[in-house]
Symmetry: D2
Subunit: 409 residues, 4 copies
């Protein structure tokens, strides 16, 4: 009764029943270690107890579930917690825009604002970018298969090479700068540059700090906004709340979604510099921009970022996974592995075709959920819950080592 | 700390704390009768007890909250319940597509499929249509203000006059048929006709049964799919589960969202005829297409549609509201009211400019939430919970009568 | 050695050698009466003596053939003659823009200017319009076959029903006005309305004076420019120099080409109101905008319009052709003929399919060149030289009468 | 009475009266040496005697001036002469397509055919390309000022770096190849690559033979057509009839215009490989695709290419101009001159801003017509008649040397 378009139900052919922390249980009672985390929507694991409790309490006292963008106590508390616990400690002055609850809604909103602020029609996106699949966002997405699904031409986006795309040594920003300053190039400054600091769907490439600086400088120079798409890399995935927070750049717009609710509930948040908040009331709308259940869990999730114990565990897990990647890449030269990613959005790129898919299939059989990355699926991607028990993380990686070896034999 | 783009928090300037049935309570302890129902996302009222219980149970036993499109028990149970309680009794054979959880995600998906199935790039949409605000859907939306927000040209949509747009006597389908059969008209058959049976945002116009028939015939004749956007008018709003179910037409694609979860949780459902299910696995994706909390409440909500008591109450409420509209329109000729809508998606169009906005403001002061409709806000729209207590409905309408009178004086 | 795309060389399968007045002679020495006039590019017939003499003189004294838009004596003389003999006597204040020498170049230029003047992106064109085949003009052209040749979506044009398209009684302007004033229609005021007063390629429909007035009023009211595409209907084809000159409307831009050189040489002329001449120097360019041979013959051609004898002959010819059409339509009811067109751009629409093509084929065999009109080729089109000898015109029509009868038998 | 958009009439502020060979005479009787040649439309100089005679003869005997694409003796003779004297000796098998008579018409036609043959919507064009200004061609043109004139987004063209754009050492084809083979790049193989071998308007850059080879190989590999825009560089401008004829590449489509008529008359010619001639009759149309005067002179012009004396003179002139460029560049280091171009489409790029414009102004005062090139006008461009008297060429260059020196002081 379900369309052939379904995907993960084929990838992981069982019926899951419950989840707790890093563990999923299926209908046959079998457990799986989850290194996929809902494609980054479950950074704190399944049903984190504090959030679960807050949510049940809220529902029990008939808290409002749905409110469009009316003010509710849940909404006001989230704004307050997010401001005080996330933005202020980082010296960030941003206003919150609540859009439809998906990442693609957030991107659509960011692009609309950039076009309105600058009066320009084109935005600049990068090779291997992923920004969503509604048509506005899809125009920014680079993957051929995704773009084809549009059925029409996707326009008003200029595509530029991401950091490293032309080789490790070549900084691509001077090339872009040349194109934008040459009246004969055929290119003009865009409304905005939209960029992921880590290309989560696009093969786990990471933009170097110097490149991001050059990009931010170029954007300022040519009058373009800088939009960070932190939907998959944000909310702690790189080890910090924002993926770019230690990089010294100041974006104009930040898009968050996926793990912003902390519980896997649909929610998006677009942060904008107050100076560009030039909207008319109601200009951006959407039925589910007030998912109050998500506000409740998102409020509780902000507590993690002042919890020393949580932060230490994340650090430890980053080290564990980094050591493992190093080890595997070195000990299995036949796999032609390259370490990819950063923090807890990590992976291995391989020159052996079909290997990542094989690894994922075997891993599932061995009770471990992992996914591939890249338009040609040439990397495996590891997205364990940030704060999972370190011993459990090591167990998962040990299983994965086995699986990789088996896949190569 | 919130962007100036916020809307309903200005419209209804208080902080809401809890909701139950047709009543909302704000932070000062004041109650409001809700004739807005989250713009149609709360057809069963706030926190309907059976759904609330099912959801709390699910969360308490660590049911999976987020699952992309992996199979989960919650997902399978929803598919089963929806098939058995909604589709089968109506002799409808459709496959379920779970898209991102917003209405606009559903529309984007429907349009992509129509373009893929037909190999045509343009879709046909109608005057005063509302289909969402991500760029693919927004191209279908007619409202000038919404379209402007795109910042770029919205293309690949042909716009045709809705039923009644050229006057009550003129059936617009023969005009469209002429344009599509004339090789010199400049128009070609579209990938699909996308239509709302009731234009909920577009002034509450209702398509007549004969017009819908003619439209369905024309679509078949010119090889176009017929997409019913039942996002606001579906899930019982017109008195039947599907807005078109007594009209004798057979759409190729049906888009549902808003009240499909029954609880106000973000969820969408695209129903497609099995014959056009030509997708490759994974061609349509999105992080939140597996909002399991919504599946749980949506499953519980299917029970309403076999509950005689519920159905009777809906019938009764439809009569009450219809009588009231008749009465008000007749007794206040100076308001130049016309009865609009059908079932429990009703309203009054007025020739007196600014009157609807005044009514909404006074209603809020009187403890009643209502909203306007139409690009020029020339109608008031009533969307009470379907099964609200009939006495309470009458109370609400009495308040509204007072408010209308006061607004006219 | 020539591409399969060639058209008239199939339609008229011989090799033509010379032409004089209304007569063409082929390689076998056979004569043809020309009722096609180069699709309206030879309004004064082939090689009109005064123009021929002026051209030979010019070439013999090494007059400049090509000059981009440099000033030449030939160019200055044309501007002066056109101003003094055509514009001034009609109280028209316009500036001349010389674009590339084809009609489509003129239209591209007019649309660019309209977009620049208004800052709007869309232009409005009509059902059955023909404005050329380069992509900017082609977007305005309605014919399906022509549009298909683009290979891509043609955008930024809104299509509205031409006068009479919805039936003889329905004025289509109020419908357009409604769409443009309704913020929920999905339509916005265009940069310009571009219109042919006679749809020469589109079936020979003629816009009524009242409709043109209403259109001009609407354009002014919604801030759109009015562009008259007088490429085929202008330069005397309707009996007056400008097709609209007795209609009391004041366009902002007029596009001329085809017969403007008077000799069949490539030339275009865009006339613009001085108030909208906001171009930067060089903003519009093109290699052949200075075809001086064409300026020379065009200058000589302006003399016709102060020549009483010429004007009388045109009047007489109009009467002859009008009588003939009346006669044929009445005497051959089985052909279901309707008289079309005006002046000397005339024809018969028929309800009998394929009849026009048969007539054209038989006519060629009988020594007469005529062409069909309309996207479905359901009319025959008569474009005799304006000032051809009236007896010769009658001879041609007699042949055509014969041919029509034979085609029907 | 002429629009402010006029350009060369400002650049060269006089009224020209006659022209012969390389000399123009103005209304005051002053002579000018013409190193501009109608932007390449007068490669054989003004009023070349043999062509002039053929044209006068043709007109005197009432040869057909205008014929749409009917067959005429003039047309057939041109096809025959062009085939026998130009194509056959070069072993080229191509079919002739006669489009509207401007270069932009030829490009529009080439792009339509490429899209039809491949079923792809995007074409690839290069930085600093110039392909015309009607919207289809303009999308391929790179210059910012030209593109702005469109008033709308120009889509369906991908822009890639021309040879040398990323520095002399970096071959840009491998970069393009990478983008086209990477499913995550966001780029897909185009319908065609359209390229000028010399960027006549774009700063006189010349594509190296190896680069053209790599481009042709890439096009074949990814299923794209190769279109050579030889409108300005063809018809002998580089010293050979086709600019690419000694380069060993085999284009699918060649666009000619400007000097194809040999007399400055409007004419275009699109050559297509017979295998891709998949058009329906009449799919491409246009009023002036049968400018028979141009066929007559174009036929006469083919004789040059079997005339040893003509060819020798061209060779000699190429040497003279090359020596001069070398000399000037070396002797005036303060001008930071770089030699540009090839054959007799030559120039000097300068690092001194505004210098080219100053040179052109002074040259006009000294009786010499030259023009600048490049989006930022940073080169002077020399386009003398191919076969001008060598002594006269040297005289002109001597004047120019003076002018350059004066401009620098």
């Amino acid at each position: 009764m379900e369309s052939d378009v379904r995907w993960y139900s084929r990838r992981f052919p069982t019926i899951f029943v419950s989840g707790s922390g890093a563990l999923l249980t299926d209908i046959a009672g079998r457990s799986y270690i989850d290194f996929f985390s809902g494609a980054g929507a479950l950074n704190y694991g399944h049903n984190p107890p504090a959030l679960k409790k807050a949510l049940i309490d809220y529902i029990e006292r008939d808290g409002i579930a749905h409110s469009l963008d009316m003010r509710t106590s849940a909404r006001q508390e989230f704004i307050s917690a997010f401001t005080n616990k996330i933005l202020r400690p980082r010296n960030m002055r941003f206003r919150c825009v609540f859009t439809g609850p998906t990442g693609t809604d957030a991107i659509e909103t960011a692009l609309k604002l950039a076009r309105k602020v600058t009066g320009r029609s084109n935005v600049a996106a990068f090779t291997n970018a992923y920004h969503g699949t509604s048509l506005g966002s899809l125009a920014g997405t680079a993957s051929l298969d995704k773009r084809r699904s549009a059925g029409i031409s996707l326009e008003n986006v200029d595509r530029y090479p991401y950091d490293g795309y032309l080789g490790a040594e070549q900084n691509t920003i001077p090339l872009i700068a040349k194109l934008l300053s040459d009246p004969g190039s055929g290119f003009v400054p865009p409304a905005a540059f939209i960029v992921e600091t880590v290309q989560s769907e696009g093969g786990l490439s990471v933009a170097k700090q110097a490149w991001l600086h050059d990009l931010a400088d170029l954007a300022r120079k040519v009058g373009s906004l800088l939009i960070i798409d932190d939907i998959q890399a944000g909310c702690g995935r790189t080890g910090k709340f924002f993926s770019f927070e230690s990089q010294g750049i100041e974006p104009d717009i930040i898009c968050l979604s996926k793990s912003i609710s902390g519980f896997g509930l649909p929610m998006s948040l677009v942060l904008i510099r107050p100076e560009i908040d030039i909207w008319e009331p109601g200009e951006i709308s959407g039925t589910f921009r007030g998912n109050n259940h998500a506000f409740v869990t998102a409020t509780a999730a902000t507590d993690y970022w002042t919890d020393r114990d949580f932060l230490d565990r994340v650090e430890r897990n980053i080290e564990i996974i980094d050591d493992w990647l190093e080890n595997v890449a070195e000990s299995l030269p036949q796999a032609m592995f390259t370490k990819k990613g950063v923090g807890l959005i990590r992976g291995l790129h391989t020159g052996v075709s079909d290997l990542p898919k094989t690894i994922c299939d075997y891993a599932f059989q061995a009770g471990l959920l992992v996914e591939t990355s890249g338009a040609a699926s040439c990397a495996i991607k590891l997205l364990p819950p940030l704060c999972m028990d370190s011993a459990q993380l090591s167990d998962g990686l040990m299983i994965l080592s086995e699986v990789v070896r088996r896949s190569l034999s």
